[in-house]
């Protein structure tokens, strides 16, 4: 930002997306205040897997995840140990010939997008992950995917934001977003811009946003440092993530830097009911042990649920919200908020600063929600 006066920005929400946006805006010279109703990383960020992954449900998703991963790599030297970064890569596993064909198509797509991959035949797969069942058809290793501990990464981003002058005020609930400001319980805070980065809760402040809480379950085990080496995901995961109409589970397992094994995943649309659904938990663990038969022996120490901010078209809402002057949106990242937090923040900061973003921002404009209503 040029000129003598530093402009004020308010970021609502100190999850990883809010933290990343705050850091990007503060670096651009904005005087940033982050308002968090609870504490930093208390919402969706605290319950996710932290898989930094290239995904290709759509070309736009591929562009954003790939762009974000590059930024994660640039950030890597500055990440401290709280982030627990582990460059373990992703293994997409195929159960049969038809999935193997899909796997090859994925490889070809990634090749054109310059995403490094390697196809593993069943033997190479068994060597790479001895606990996977032996009759799998093969796997695609995506070399540069990795894993972080999201609350730790978020704290690092907030430190970065603070270094550039940002202020975090936690325990502060925003009651409404008003033109160029926010209304708190006892005062109105003015700012040139406001960013709604409240994940699945974003519609509470911006009611027209088409974001729905999409519940997920996770289970974590005691320490089994050699049980798996990659984040391993069944190829059908993408289908599970894509189809919004029904509940689903898919095999998605992650080695934590602690040696623990994090087991996912499930998707349900059940409102805000955070109770563990035993049937879903059973199916999720069953699905995982179908791929890794020894998983049944592992000691599970904790299970929990969380809510992904899901959008109808599976793309996040990033950009200006015209109906309210000064309001920008960075929300609706479904299960990819950890990965795409950095890309989101850069995309947003570029647009706010009037720079041309490196990737096309149009598909992510939150205004498409209104267009969908009016069309």
């Amino acid at each position: 930002m040029n000129g003598a006066r530093r402009s004020d920005a308010i970021v609502v929400g100190a999850g990883i997306v809010g933290a990343a946006c705050a850091a990007a805006l503060a670096r651009d010279g904005w005087r940033v205040t982050i308002l968090e109703r609870s504490f930093a990383s208390s919402g969706t960020t605290s319950v996710g897997m932290g898989h930094l992954v290239v995904m290709d449900d759509s070309p736009e998703q591929l562009a954003l995840t790939k762009y974000s991963l590059r930024q994660w790599r640039e950030l890597t030297p500055t990440l401290d140990r709280r982030a627990e970064l582990d460059a373990c890569g992703t293994l997409w596993v195929a159960e049969d010939e038809s999935q193997l064909a899909a796997l090859r198509a994925k490889r070809d797509l990634y090749a054109t997008a310059d995403v490094a991959t390697e196809v593993l035949d069943p033997r190479a797969l068994s060597e790479a992950e001895p606990h996977l069942r032996r009759d799998l058809a093969g796997a695609l290793r995506v070399t540069n995917d990795s894993v972080v501990y999201p609350p730790g990464a978020t704290l690092g981003l907030l430190d970065d934001a603070r270094k550039h002058g940002a202020v975090l005020r936690d325990g502060i609930g925003v009651e409404a977003i008003v033109p160029n400001g926010v209304r708190l319980a006892s005062e109105v805070l003015r700012a040139d811009i406001v960013v709604n980065a409240t994940g699945p809760w974003a519609p509470r402040l911006t009611p027209a946003l088409p974001i729905t809480p999409r519940k997920g379950h996770l289970a974590i085990t005691d320490r089994y440092p050699t049980f798996c080496r990659h984040q391993i995901v069944e190829l059908g995961y993408l289908t599970s993530a894509h189809v919004m109409t029904s509940e689903s589970v898919a095999f998605n397992i992650q080695p934590r830097s602690t040696g623990q094994v994090l087991i996912g995943s499930s998707r349900e649309l059940v409102g805000w009911d955070a109770q563990i659904n035993r049937e879903i938990l059973r199916r999720m663990l069953q699905r995982a042990s179908h791929f890794m038969p020894r998983l049944g022996d592992l000691s599970v120490i904790r299970c929990w649920t969380g809510f992904r901010p899901a959008t109808p078209d599976k793309l996040p809402l990033i950009g200006r919200w015209d109906p309210i002057p000064g309001l920008w949106i960075a929300a609706g990242h479904e299960g990819l908020g950890i990965t795409t937090s950095l890309g989101t923040a850069q995309l947003l900061a570029d647009q706010i600063a009037g720079r041309v973003p490196e990737i096309d921002p149009a598909p992510f404009s939150p205004m498409r929600a209104l267009a969908a209503v009016h069309s």
């Binding site: 005691d222 440092p225 022996d297």
Partner: protein, 84 residues
């Protein structure tokens, strides 16, 4: 201990009294390394009743067993000192 049974602790045969827990068998043989904590400290039983999980060892290749809750059996393999 004429009726002693044998267990294998870290690949070494140990003669122990039958009926006791794995924790007892180890402690009675001055074996205090049950597990290594996340920062590498040696840990051994504390609560004696299955609450604290400090005495976790690997028994017959199954990791993270509470040594204070498992009774020794002839031929049992116990591995200690791993990260848990």
């Amino acid at each position: 201990m004429s009726d002693a049974i044998e267990i294998v602790v870290n690949a070494k045969v140990l003669r122990v009294e039958p009926g006791v827990t794995v924790a007892s068998a180890l402690l009675n043989n001055d074996h205090h390394v049950f597990r290594r904590s996340t920062t590498g400290e040696v840990r051994a039983p504390v609560c004696g009743m299955g609450i604290c999980y400090e005495c976790r060892v690997t028994i017959n290749d199954v990791a993270h067993q509470r040594a204070c809750m498992v009774t020794v059996e002839h031929g049992m393999r116990v591995d200690t000192g791993s990260a848990a």
